[in-house]
Amino acid sequence: MGNITLRKVNKSFGATQVIPGIDLNIEDGEFVVFVGPSGCGKSTLLRLIAGLEDTTSGTIEIDGRDVTGAAPAKRGLAMVFQSYALYPHMSVRNNIAFPLKMAKLDHGAIDKKVTEAARVLNLTNYLDRRPGQLSGGQRQRVAIGRAIVREPSAFLFDEPLSNLDAALRGTMRLEISELHHQLQTTMIYVTHDQVEAMTMADKIVVLNAGNIEQVGSPLDLYHRPDNLFVAGFIGSPRMNFATGEFSRPYNAHTIGVRPEHLQLSTQSGTWRGVVGVAEHLGSDTFLHIHVEGIGLVTARVGGDFAVSHGDHVFLTPDEGRVHRFNDKGLAIR
């Protein structure tokens, strides 16, 4: 079981309030991603759940048990750190076995669990090496191995892939998702990368300045962002925003249109602009278009759309795909 409930969790460092008061419920078996810009408090929130930081006020419950004051080891959670945090003086085998040794399991049981974890994570041939002799991806797998042998009620991941190169990040993303399907254990995953959030999560928690901006499934957040922050943060490239004369026809203070929801034409359309930089990705092209009164608008078109720098084009937002926001930045529905 791994049901985690936060009630009015507040964290201050001295006079600085990092998390003003968060209520959140994480169901057993869910893959929850905390996402937000740097300094939004997502790592702090994870560390509060882990018990590595003390809450200033509020309570944290795991499976109905109040663990607010409990030591990290007593919470039944396992954590994978950004820097892997492997024990450099121990072999891979001893790294994975460490939590079991601390739990005072007998040698036979430890051996069995370590062998099994190594098999699952493809580490069998590396058990006698030191972390320093492994590649980044292997180190990350050791860190995960050390977490799974404990059979925790939930896994906590603190930006685990940010030290890896792009290709490896993609592979590890799949491996972690696959692991979640196998283990069916609650996972809380912190990242600033919204692609990781979108691809892995059952539920995304978008944080900004210590506050939860929105909680929902990836597609929920994509299709129905509650406010300007979530609208701008989720989706790549970023949503385009327009105000004033552009939003007035929609009865809104601000409107938002995703790059993929703009129709481009060289003949006619709602907004007129001049093509700036074109980023060709092969399958798609991202056009950065100067529209007077809005600024730079990004549009996503097919890979073969033929325009070049300085061309005049027309943009038309897809009706029904325009997001409307009031003067407080909240979505109008």
Binding site: L52, A73, A85, R150
Partner: protein, 274 residues
């Protein structure tokens, strides 16, 4: 061309380094040379070539027992080092990994005690030692040497511990290690190079400490520093014998230092090169 210049510069620096090293080492070298002279040779004036006699060594051995002060030096320096480590590992741990606003002040205060002239507290310390019956006891002196070197040991360990990523200790905490488990299984093994060089340096400092060891001992707990001092006293000046006694006293630590120099240098530059 550039290469030739840099080679010349390297040569110049090498020569300069050798000269500086020789200047630093010269007093020790001259002590060793003098110890192989006869007493008459020793007072005749500056000479780098001794006659090679070992009579001073024989005299020193027959006049005084070398073994007892030697053992005292070993016990005092190793004992005080172990005691200092026992206190300073947890102290440095807490300051390095859960610092408070006052941590810097505490560290500075500890160091400031080293700036105080030792002679300023000679009388009170002497009286305390007398009243507690610690004069001329190994226990008292071990304690004294521990206190003297504790600030340096804590500072050194603090510096090494700061180099260890806090996340590793947090991982140990998540993995169920208790506070002592964390210190014993994770922190200490990772800090072994640092702890080893701290130990070596502290042993050397304790071995060479000559202010308190001479003043707080007479015979029983007297280490080699007191052994040397005893040759400079009443009968007048016997340079050759004094040099022989000094050579005997510094030989063990010199040899130890020679064999552990790599470890020492590595420890002293730990923070700089990593």
């Amino acid at each position: 061309m550039a290469r030739a210049v840099s080679t010349r510069r390297t040569a110049a620096f090498t020569i300069a380094a050798w000269i500086v090293a020789l200047i630093i080492f010269f007093p020790i070298l001259y002590t060793i040379i003098t110890s192989f002279k006869s007493e008459t040779e020793a007072i005749q004036g500056f000479s780098l070539i001794p006659s090679g006699t070992v009579e001073s060594y024989v005299d020193v051995q027959t006049q005084k027992d070398y073994f007892k002060p030697f053992m005292n030096s070993v016990i005092l320096s190793v004992g005080s080092t172990l005691l200092a480590l026992l206190i300073s590992v947890p102290a440095a741990w807490s300051m390095a990994f859960s610092p408070t606003k006052k941590t810097k002040d505490v560290l500075m205060w500890m160091l400031s005690t080293k700036m105080m002239p030792a002679v300023a507290v000679l009388v009170p310390i002497y009286l305390i030692f007398r009243d507690f019956g610690l004069l001329d006891s190994r226990l008292g002196l071990t304690f004294m040497l521990t206190m003297i070197n504790l600030p340096i040991v804590i500072w050194m360990l603090y510096t090494y511990f700061r180099e260890i990523p806090g996340e590793i200790l947090e991982a140990a905490r998540m993995d169920g290690a208790s506070l002592w488990g964390e210190i014993i299984y994770v922190l200490t093994p990772m800090a072994v190079p640092g702890i080893a060089s701290t130990m070596l340096l502290n042993i050397i400092l304790a071995w060479n400490e000559a202010f308190w060891t001479i003043r707080l001992t007479t015979t029983n707990a007297a280490p080699l520093t007191a052994f040397i001092a005893s040759f400079s006293s009443p009968q007048g000046l016997f340079w050759a014998k004094l040099s022989a006694a000094s050579t005997l006293a510094i030989a063990p630590i010199l040899i130890m230092g020679w064999f552990s120099q790599k470890q020492l240098v590595r420890g002293l530059t730990f923070g700089a090169v990593k």
